[in-house]
Amino acid sequence: MISYIIKKEAMEVSRDGRTRLLAIVMLLLGLTGLLAGWANYADQQRNALFAQEDDQTVFLDQGERNPHSAAHFGRMAYKPASPLASFDPGAAPFMGQVIWLEAHQRNPAMFRPAADSLELGRLSNFSVAGILTVLLPLLVFLLGYSALAGEREHGTLRQTLTAGTSTGKLFAAKYIVIASTGIALAAVTIIASAVMALFSPVALSATDTLVRALGLTAFYAVYVLALTGFALLVSALCKQSRTALLVLLGIWAVAVMVLPRVGASVAAQTFPIPDGAQVWSELRADIASNRVAPDSAEYKAAEQFVVSRALGRDVSLAELATMDLNASGLRLEVTEVLDYAVLNNFYADIYDRYAGQRDVRRWFALLSPAIALQHASSAFAGTDFVAHQHFSDVAEVQRNNIVRVMNEDLLLNGAGATTYLAGENFWEEVPEFTYQFPPVSLAWRSAAFDILLLLLWGAIATALAWTVTRNRLTV
């Protein structure tokens, strides 16, 4: 019986010109967004690869040079773009693309692509994910606003129910048809994006990509289910389909267009990020206050640690006092060791503030599933700030390795020399930076709460819709 109702509902949906038009517009926009995203991704990927190779060549061509001077010249860690960025670039255009790895300083990533973009692009998000987030609710609401109210208005509801159709089957059929239309549209674009990601220059493992794609499909599907529940709930509550349409459009405008922006603004006010100049000023002060006197026990212990590590064996303080070492090299590495924790704590505090802002936005996600979806979607596309933090932390480890190799060379080989220069082949000993994308488990951890919120939205909206429909739809 239910299959007949589903068939009838599906036929009505397919015959509705407005639905067909919106679905075609969505597909065309999605395709354009995907191609534009892919072109952007491929361009960024190519540039990052070339730039990394160039940087390696320049670093190896330094000739004879003081290692500490070379540590200031440093290396560049170029961030590869996530292959699924063509589906959901997330916050990636607003994060730097390269980190300067230099002595004494942990730098933020620089060169945000969005800084070179047109300002009119900030009115809305043209990525596939952005299009789906904004237009899927519209499609579902257009399909659902008259599903029950319209039938009641035209008198066909009474006819259907008196013919022996149960309320449950009617509700289920309408729910399935509306939701499956939205899910099908989302799935097509996500599958296309995943296929492109599998053939990208810097591919994730096939399993990882598939898990991410499946996750994305599931989240957008739950989003659609929540929207379908809402559409049917409002349709069941309103006596006229016109009123139902107005209410749903109001919900759409507030939940999708207004609340994400308002949530972001409130979050930025609740957990403000200090401006760049203030950050450096505070960082300098923190570093200065953390420095200890050269004759203190802590400083001596740091010296002992540095020399033991450089020689690969334990060195006692007594032995250290008799060793012939380059004093500058020792001092430079000791300050690196002492500053390491301060720099990391400082960045941890910045990332905590990002997380704080995300938590505030999650409160707003209680009013809008679009916010929870945006968090989960960018986490699984590998374009959220957690993925960026992973890159930044790996780059910092590399910075420490580079600076350590330079300082140890000066420390051990520069003893007695006033101006020590490392040989031109020395630079090959410095390890090259390689970056592996974090596994999908990081995305699960980062988006677990958002996924839970989405599931709650889906379950509550559907349950409410069913309860109201059951109570109000009687013969």
């Binding site: 952007n40 010249f73 607003f94 009115l123 207004v258 760049g276 990002y354 995300r358």
Partner: protein
């Protein structure tokens, strides 16, 4: 019917309903929040500028004291070999915040508005150390008055006015209403103006209130003129949307058709056209990658360091007037630093020129493409009036680089010769100050698009009137 009568009728039918009041109150609350959020962002920028100026001023005060001690002779405790080094001079630079900067955040959250100018820092690093803002917040964008007007105002106008005639038509009472001796044209326009007028009244009152209530470094007098331009832009933008609603309503279709048609138009103008054109323009006119800029800078830095002696000789040949002081006290590494940075800046200038050229090409294209969407026209005007447009930030960045290049020309020979600056020379050097364009220059860029919107509005009014003259009410005897 008098206007008072119309108002009474509309009050009972629409405006006076609790739902309308809730809607208008919500709109007013969002506007107030938007304005206060813009103000909060502005305060953050002003605080940052104050801190930046104080820091640079403190650094330079120490530098000057040391130089004064050196020139005065006597106690030389604060004097070092670097005393008077032009390489150690720091200039504070910032983009002055415009009188209406709290009304539109624009690109101020993503583009640089302050920097320390120093010959010790190559161009590539002047603005690259300021990227700490939460990227997700930047992506979602700040909620300000500009956003509220561009996105929400048309939506609210649509919600309030979409069923001007169709509500009566759907209820089969339009004939009855018109039989009271009211012309369809009078009914249509009076309803439209009264309903949209309520929305605009709320917007204008809140905007004017925020103009005077929110404290600013600018006097209310300085804020009034840009506010009038802002209001003019708002009214033209609103007029466009009101006539679009009129146009759709005049086709005498069901309410559902009206709301869907209007929503599609809103979606196209506010969401699809701006983002799609932005994506297309960025593909057609790609910006040269910043990564190649960086690669070029590093290659040049390495080459310059390896050929430093040649660079110094070349510089001396270019400046034969320079007196090389072989006994100079200024450390030699400062000269190396100057020569390397100068070489990097010169080598990367063509790349920056490419950036500027690409930005100009895109802006020129936007100049044409903005006619496709009233939202693009309004956004451009609001950002310019608020002084937070990308163009103004780019001019600031260019002027900082120009200033640094001029300073480098001025003191470069002395740096290479190892000569310190004298206090008299230092006092002759003027600090950085931003050369801003006038409001009329900014407005001139937007005059034609605004006139275009007005033209469209006028054409729509003519079409609506034409349709209303041939309006046919089912069941009504002519």
């Amino acid at each position: 019917m008098t206007l008072r009568d119309w108002f009474t009728v509309e009050w009972k039918l629409s405006i006076g309903r609790p739902a309308s009041w809730v809607l208008l109150a919500l709109f007013a609350a969002l506007l107030i929040y938007a304005a206060s959020n813009g103000k909060s962002r502005l305060d953050n920028r002003l605080d940052a500028i104050d801190r930046h100026q104080a820091e640079v001023s403190q650094t330079m005060s120490t530098w000057q004291t040391s130089l004064e001690q050196k020139e005065a002779g006597g106690d030389q405790t604060g004097v070092t070999p670097r005393t008077g080094a032009a390489m150690d001079v720091r200039f504070s630079s910032y983009l002055p915040q415009a009188p209406l900067a709290d009304f539109a955040i624009g690109q101020s959250d993503i583009l640089p508005y302050l920097s320390t100018i120093s010959l010790a820092t190559p161009d590539i690093r002047i603005f690259s150390r300021y990227e700490f803002e939460d990227p997700v917040s930047l992506m979602l964008g700040g909620f300000d008055l500009s956003t509220a007007i561009i996105v929400l105002l048309p939506l609210l106008l649509i919600v309030v006015c979409f069923d001007l005639i169709s509500a009566d038509r759907d209820a089969n009472r339009l004939g009855l209403t018109l039989s009271q001796g009211v012309s369809i044209s009078s009914l249509f326009w009076n309803r439209l103006l009264l309903r949209s007028g309520m929305v605009l009244l709320v917007l204008l009152i809140v905007s004017a209130l925020m103009l005077f209530v929110q404290s600013s470094v600018h006097s209310p007098g300085e804020r009034v003129l840009p506010f009038l331009v802002w209001t003019l832009g708002t009214l033209i933008y609103a007029a466009f949307w009101i006539t679009v609603i009129a146009l759709v309503a005049a086709y005498n279709r069901r309410s559902e058709f009206n709301i869907m048609a209007l929503l599609s138009i809103w979606l196209a103008f506010v969401f699809i056209v701006p983002s799609a054109t932005s994506a297309i323009l960025e593909t057609v006119y790609p910006t040269p990658t910043r990564l190649s800029y960086l690669a070029e800078a590093r290659e040049t830095e390495n080459a310059a360091r390896l050929q430093e002696a040649d660079l110094a000789n070349q510089f001396i040949l270019d400046h034969p007037e320079m007196l090389v002081n072989e006994e100079a006290e200024i450390p030699a590494f400062l000269r190396s630093n100057f020569l390397v940075n100068r070489t990097i800046d010169e080598a990367t200038r063509p790349i920056l020129d490419e950036f500027d050229a690409a930005a100009r090409q895109r802006e020129a294209s936007v100049g044409i493409i903005r006619y496709l969407s009233p939202a693009i026209i309004a956004q451009g005007l609001f950002n310019d009036v608020a002084g937070n447009s990308a163009g103004r930030h780019q001019r600031y960045v260019q002027q900082v680089r120009e200033f640094k290049a001029n300073y480098s020309e001025q003191v470069g020979p002395g740096v290479v010769a190892g000569q310190p600056l004298t206090m008299a020379e230092f006092e002759r050097i003027e600090g950085f100050s931003f050369r801003d364009e006038t409001l009329s220059e900014a407005l001139a860029r937007h005059l034609l698009p605004l006139l275009f919107l007005l033209l469209l509005t006028t054409v729509a009014v003519v079409i609506v009137n034409k349709r209303l003259r041939t309006f046919h009410v089912v069941g009504k005897q002519d």
